[in-house]
């Protein structure tokens, strides 16, 4: 399903669409940066003191002044803002107050872990959802009811609670998996499952509904009339239709996973963006917060553009619009 198969003119239109979309994405990124910058300025308390580890650190006035100068906090807000944007443009995210290192390098350290976690969770959620959807639509009231039930419950599970129960059962109880995220793959199991379950609930519902729609659609009938087996109808036709909306949701799913990562990474003591964000937020580490937010937003935006593009390519009906 690539553009060259589409009728003449579509590649051009697609490029155009992509261009417009990316421009929009850049704008959003800028807006996010701006919003974050000013929002964080609303926080009570002197950033200089925050840098010096809170009022407890007995920082002398000279020290405070020094810090203000060092971080340009003595400049008027507008200047600081422009400076921040300028540095941003050059990819420099500044220096973390609380961790005293370059935010860029810090995030570079933290990003892969979280991305791995998110990617794995997303795929696991997909597999679970697909399995559940296909099983619960094989006909019969019981599977359907059970499927629907599982989905709703899963979607209602708070991450922190799943995490706790999983640790309780599989670490403290059975001792199968480490309760904290260690280097080995074993350490990933519980966090991934924790993140995947609720997501699978949402995706599962979507998939099941669209799968049912597809199975009842005329093209399924004509496929059967062609001599296609039920399995064939599912594999060749229905599953793609079930997958499409779920693909479109990947952007949202990512956001959902990041929100979850804040909790999960804290509970499983797993280094990553989520945990970094939480510490940064409590430490009022402005550059770090901005950094994390920007990275997350950027990832989110890129992902949405990509998934939209993917769905457009996969589904000609979207191009018509």
């Amino acid at each position: 399903m690539t553009t060259d198969r589409a009728p003449v003119g579509v590649p051009f239109r697609f490029a155009r669409w992509l261009l417009v979309r990316s421009a929009g994405a850049l704008f959003v990124l800028w807006a996010v940066a701006t919003l974050t910058f000013f929002a964080i300025r609303l926080i009570p308390g002197d950033p200089a003191e925050a840098i010096l580890g809170g009022p407890g650190s007995q920082a002398s006035d000279e020290a405070l002044a020094a810090v203000r100068a060092e971080y340009g906090l003595d400049q008027p807000l507008a200047v600081q803002y422009l400076a921040a944007l300028g540095r941003l443009a050059t990819g420099d995210l500044g220096t973390s107050y609380s961790l005293r290192t370059s935010v860029s390098t810090l995030l570079a350290e933290q990003l892969p872990g979280t991305m791995l976690l998110a990617a794995l969770s997303l795929s696991v959620a997909w597999m679970l959802a697909l399995a559940l959807a296909t099983w619960s639509t094989r006909g019969g009231r019981v599977p359907a009811a059970v499927g629907a039930g599982l989905e709703v419950v899963a979607a209602a599970l708070p991450h922190f609670w799943i995490a706790i129960v999983l640790i309780l059962v599989f670490s403290t109880g059975l001792g199968w998996f480490p309760p904290i995220s260690t280097a080995g793959p074993a350490g990933l199991v519980l966090p991934v499952v924790t993140l995947a379950l609720p997501l699978a609930g949402f995706l599962g519902s979507i998939m099941r509904e669209s799968l049912l729609d597809a199975l009842e659609a005329p093209f399924a009938l004509s496929a059967r009339a062609r001599g296609e087996s039920e399995l064939g109808v599912r594999l060749v036709h229905a599953l793609r239709h079930a997958a499409l909306p779920a693909i479109g949701l990947s952007g949202w799913a990512f956001g959902f996973l990041i929100s979850g990562a804040v909790v999960v990474e804290t509970i499983f003591a797993r280094p990553g963006l989520g945990r970094t964000l939480l510490t940064a937020v409590t430490a009022r580490d402005i550059p770090l917060v901005i950094g994390v937010v920007l990275v997350v937003a950027a990832a989110y935006i890129v992902l949405t553009v990509l998934t939209d593009a993917a769905s457009r390519l996969a589904d000609p009906r979207l191009r018509a619009a």
Binding site: G24, F27, V28, L29, A31, V32, L35, T36, A39, I40, L42, I43, P44, A145, A148, G149, V152, V153, A155, A156, L157, P158, H159, F160, W161, I164, V165, I167, L168, T172, F202, S205, I206, E209, S210, L212, D213, E216, P245, L249, W252, F254, G255, F256, I258, S259, G260, V262, V263, T266, L277, L278, V281, R284, V289, V293, V296, A297, Y300, I301
Partner: protein, 289 residues
């Protein structure tokens, strides 16, 4: 996209398939209804269900496991967990509902502005929503809390705000589709003024599903609010709020599981029940139009 939009989408496609068909309530829906009734009872007159004082401490009976005497056991200060959970219902529901109300309110303002005040407003509101969507739900909430400090109220508002974009987009979509609908056109042909149309057709048809939208949202709102309390940014102990209870009990997980298990169970039950009913209601509303 927001959790909410996803949920509504699910319900929508579910209806489009069974369009018109009035199906009778499923077992799940009956159970959900019962759960809701129980929750409402606990919220309105907790004393009747759990006579014990949720704040009364009995240090020497701390950590006693579930027993006929106290069904859910006692916590680290010997408080009866069952009564705490029951008495916590009111606050948890209140948080969920008011957060949803806030989100819905903001969503309504933004959505209506975008849907009714012409292309310029529409464009800018949409951009704004895109920006807000770039912050995943909890991110937005955390943000708000950093600025205004932790606490039940801020947590509630935070959750409300973080759900607002979702509502806004749905409401806008609703408005636009109705404004383009054939019956609005028919009204124009009959010579109705914009205000007559707005008042007689657009608003009623937009508002009807919104209430349902809310019920779908409450479940998720409760979960998010609880998450915030769990991170220590929401309600604080000894308040009998489910998230806070979980957070407090977390420390003793390896020796006293019941401290965390039951509050969590109630969160899940509530969210599930509300969602199930929400979907059902939504299908109802859609079947009618």
């Amino acid at each position: 996209m927001s959790d909410l939009e996803v949920s509504t989408r699910i319900a929508r496609s579910a209806t489009s398939r069974r369009a018109g068909t009035r199906r009778s309530a499923t077992v799940g829906e009956v159970v959900a209804a019962l759960v809701i009734v129980f929750l409402l009872l606990s919220a309105l007159l907790p004393g009747a269900i759990a006579p014990l004082d949720p704040l009364a401490i009995r240090p020497l009976e701390a950590f006693s496991p579930p027993s006929p005497g106290s069904w859910f056991g006692t916590d680290e200060s010997g408080r009866d967990i069952f009564s705490r959970v029951v008495h916590g219902t009111a606050s948890s529901l209140l948080i969920g509902v008011s957060a949803t109300a806030i989100g819905l309110g903001l969503g309504l303002i933004l959505g209506t502005a975008a849907g009714m005040l012409g292309p310029v407003v529409d464009f800018s509101v949409n951009r704004m929503l895109e920006v807000l969507f770039a912050f995943p739900g909890l991110l937005l909430a955390l943000f708000f809390i950093v600025i205004f400090g932790p606490g039940v109220v801020t947590a509630t508002i935070a959750v409300g705000i973080s759900t607002a974009p979702g509502y806004a987009r749905i409401i806008r979509g609703q408005l636009v589709s109705i404004r383009r609908s054939a019956y609005v056109e028919a009204a124009t042909v009959l010579g109705r003024s914009r205000w007559q149309i707005l008042y007689r057709h657009i608003l009623p048809n937009t508002l009807a599903p919104i209430f349902v939208l809310g019920t779908l949202g409450v479940g998720q709102a409760i979960v998010w609010a609880a998450s915030l309390s769990y991170l220590g940014l929401g309600a604080v102990p000894p308040a009998a709020e489910w998230g806070a209870m979980l957070a407090a009990g977390r420390t003793y997980i390896s020796t006293a599981w019941w401290l965390t298990f039951f509050p969590g169970l109630f969160i899940v039950l509530t969210a599930t029940a509300i969602t199930v009913l929400g979907r059902r209601l939504q299908q109802r509303v859609r079947e009618q139009g």
